[in-house]
Symmetry: D2
Subunit: 347 residues, 4 copies
């Protein structure tokens, strides 16, 4: 008997990806899909790629339409989840794909987002190491889960092993990400137009202003950092989805290349969705398109004294909807891999 599911924000890209994954999940049944301006329309008119869900019609996003389901996924703009979830039953599993419940620091929330602060939920990156285990442990009994920011979780997964093992300098981290524009959603702004992005690489949020920075720092603190700092620069490139993160860190002097590799491989040895590639191998985003996989390539640049990690993630899957689904699986006692694939759609 499948769990009954509602998806709020079903007309957006994250909502659409949630639905694509849920449609292939054997233990979830999508009963309700909600939207804002598109309420009243058939889902298929707004998400024409979701043929198997052609029977669904979008309804308004309200506590009433969302109530009565065992699982509610929220894929709403930032600032919209907090008020809504107060009205949902405490026993309902609620997974928020927005930022509203990610940050444990109200100060960080105020500095990078602003507006009302609704508190942090269990953070939906199961593989992230903590002092005593993995974040997965906190998800097992959770009924409120915050799915991660796509860029934040990618960089955190990339660097956490080095922090955990004490082989990199937490104050000398640099991450540059090539990212597809779908992370910006369907926002009708000039920089999101195809003509602006095709044939060009476009930076944004340069110089320490990106909202995912405190989220990365929080994750690295989970892994053992005290006061990590990171230079973080995202570059929009002409691919619809995908993140390729180049995250480098200064090597703690005296650390061997073997110790570095061991740190990463040990951290993710048992993880089905995070793979450290063999020496000399580095991932492409095409390798993870549509998959819930994070692939990490690792090199030690002796001359520069730095560890270099290359991490490929599908921002809509492992970065958002897949992370949400994997976390929901864990919270509900299902196999965490259910309804998710490790195989990318390439080429």
């Amino acid at each position: 008997m499948a769990f009954s599911v509602a998806v709020a924000g079903a007309s957006g890209y994250a909502g659409g990806e949630l639905l694509r994954l849920l449609a292939g999940h054997p233990e979830f049944e999508v009963r309700t899909v909600t939207a804002n301006s598109n309420a009243g329309h058939p889902l298929i008119d707004v998400q024409p790629h979701l043929r198997s869900l052609a029977h669904l019609t979008l309804v308004d996003t309200t506590p009433e339409t969302l109530s009565g389901h065992e699982v509610v996924f929220l894929a709403l703009p930032h600032g919209k989840s907090g008020e809504l979830t107060a009205h949902l039953n405490a026993d309902t599993l609620v997974v928020d794909c927005g930022a509203d419940h990610r940050l444990q620091s109200e100060e960080d929330w105020a500095a990078f987002y602003g507006g009302d602060y609704y508190g942090a939920w269990a953070y939906g990156v199961p593989e992230l190491p903590t002092g005593s285990g993995r974040l997965r442990d906190l998800l097992r009994s959770a009924r409120r889960i915050a799915a991660p920011g796509c860029n934040a979780s990618t960089v955190a997964l990339a660097l956490a092993p080095g922090i955990r093992a004490g082989v990199i300098d937490e104050t000398d981290l640099v991450a540059v990400l090539a990212v597809g524009p779908s992370g910006a959603g369907k926002s009708l702004k000039l920089p999101n137009l195809a003509s602006e992005i095709l044939g060009s690489a476009n930076p944004y949020a340069v110089g320490g202003t990106h909202r995912h920075i405190p989220e990365i720092q929080q994750s690295l603190r989970f892994a053992g950092a005290e006061n990590p700092t990171i230079s973080f620069t995202p570059i929009i490139v002409p691919m619809a989805r995908g993140i390729l993160s180049t995250a480098t860190a200064r090597l703690v002097p005296g650390t061997s290349a073997a110790a570095v590799r061991a740190a990463w491989e040990d951290t993710y040895a048992d993880e089905p969705f995070v793979h450290v590639l063999p020496p000399g191998h580095f991932p492409r985003t095409a390798d993870v398109l549509g998959a819930n996989t994070a692939l990490i390539g690792l090199a030690v640049d002796e001359a520069a004294g730095r560890v270099v990690t290359i991490t490929a993630v599908d921002n809509l899957v492992k970065g958002t909807a897949g992370a949400a689904l994997q976390s929901a699986n864990i919270a509900l006692g299902l196999p965490q891999t259910l309804g998710l694939t490790t195989n990318g759609v390439a080429p």
Copy 2:
């Protein structure tokens, strides 16, 4: 009376771009175009976008076909220029777009390229600061010029002002570049196929192995560095041409943001082709497509303690053919801007 010009390697991307620029140059007349396997064919069959040069036919690349011109541009694979140029008249201006004559260190050459070493020529990045002036000064009387590597010159232009002013730590440099595949030329290798690159971001030469690293270090030494080290990672993204470099450096403690900005603005204040954008502005590669311009956006990330530079360059123009042409203008006593534009083709 125009200078007579030969272009060797006219069937490749760099050669084609040289010809496109030369076709619009009022003081150069292309008389000879050479190729290897395409010799004997009309140029227009191989470079169908160069309609105004439809009268030219490709001939073999030999000392004989190249002799008798006032200017010879070489756009040959690495290792092919050295032997050839020994046979050219010493009075002929020879501009090599390959790597053969870029590196002053035979040791670096052996470590990163290998094969015979033919010595360094005047380096064709006129704007690069030196202790006493600019590299331009060395180009004025040169008859042998090495056009730069596209990635190397982009990163060097981005970071040299900070080195020159002593406001960044030369041992803590990190550069990640989003680059188009045209830099790899027409090489028939699997990673260059469209199906491999479309919809994906693909790293290569990760971990300190890229051949442009010693060239960057050499340029930074021109600017005053002693023993600079840099972590350098290029990422192929789905745009035919363009480089967007994110180059960051640890700020020397105590340096003000104003001092940082002054370092960059002072360095390029008089340069027609290198522009430092106002605070808060960052370039896109589309802004420089087809132009000989390098646009630099600059930020100081106080929290991370780093300077962040974003630099956009067209790898085939300012990165290669435009640099070659600009350098030739200087060597011949022509206005350096002749035949070059600062305006990009966007969108």
Copy 3:
């Protein structure tokens, strides 16, 4: 108990897509993967997106390595299947994704392909109408199946309903296809390079020379045409996969728009993988990326006197590997939808 499967040509794009689909199929177990120059390497080195098949190693493509499986899929270059399959057991289900066994006319084979002719097999487009039913009927007991050409099946599905119903003129058909380069495979030729394709639309095989033309004509004869002729032009556009076919036909005078719509809707009313969209709706290739779906939009242009069909297909799925798998399902008595999805990966 799953069927044992071998895939020949597992290192190419079609072979990779077969494996991606097979990895998610509950009744198939891939035991053997073969290649040519890549034999001896782990599959994951060549197809790094297929993480769940990391245990497989490529072996040589020989009758011996392929024997002993219940199902053999061939994804070999044209001309390579014919000789090989003569050595396979007659009881083995063999599905060829190449062209060798598609054409019933040896004359067509000689004119468009040349080389040895090995005869036609059951044609793997189950939905194509025939005088008495569907091609599916011929697949039920087949042990030799020819998967279709991607362009050919797309155009045939688009136009067959009009031929079947007699509402379009079989001598006045025009199809123009926007196609991704993955259809050309991993062939190392200049026109397949990313730099040639990014930012450009490139025609090929213009003027009636494309090899899929006789295959289209054959399919339309299945549907009732006598001597159909078609102007067929493929255009390579910068997307890795996908076909968007615009196929138009002169309307038989006196035919109402309602009769046209009825012809298409009736033909595919019961098909799970071919959908005729409502009036005013037209598909995008993103809607079918990774899916086994063909989406058809239909309009009648009264002023021009033509029916216009817009059909979106993923060339590697419904156009090749999905068609192969769907046909194998049918031949083996499995539900035809097993292991296949109707939902695309968008955006």
Copy 4:
């Protein structure tokens, strides 16, 4: 002494391209640039690729700001030019890049555009054949010129030679165009978002509804057609700019392939910007990127009984701004090629 120029609508894509071309034109000096919501901002903030025009500031679009110039280019949304131009001096050369003054038939205007009809101006496709010559003849003394629609002029140039020579059937024309999204301007609509267009081919205005259809018919009547009909389908593909038109027509029975080729070659033999390629050669849009060239490839498909033309145009240059500039050159008695190039930016 250069002509003084104003450009209205300078913040859009067409306006930006006009400015890029004007910046390189030796006889035009841009004095005024106007916009709507961007008035008051430096041009460089809105068009960051136009470095050489960094001294200009956008002002409001009014009769007052546009008056006092010898040439006014309008790049305004449809419906905005008509009222404005009534206030401009009759001696001023006004070139409208919008649709307001293209159609000679008020009935067509009402059917395809609607709103006030302001009458037709001289049509800015100089090469189009007329009964007695070329449209160029009407431009020589014109002071009001309507630049063409990009799709319309591309298809008209492709098919007019066959109409003129009587070798194709004017009632059996089919055109399918792969087009970049820049033709849609900076309109903030969902279908224009990068995420919608990257990796996908998207049709629009299917079934005879596109506004350029009457404009094509009008052009073909100039060339001698009586009542031409055309099936016209544009497909948005993931390239910022460019049009690749596949326009086919039924061959008049008994026409030889040589007669077809002669019709096209004769028509454009003396044209600097329209080239008919040799047999077997077909253009790519990359070949004309940034150029004012229309390249036409031609084939006769004997089996299908159709002429197939493949035409590549840069929608923003030969399709819009270049056509406007070329027409202005003619109207002012300047060489028509001034400030325009035939060389594309490739790759």
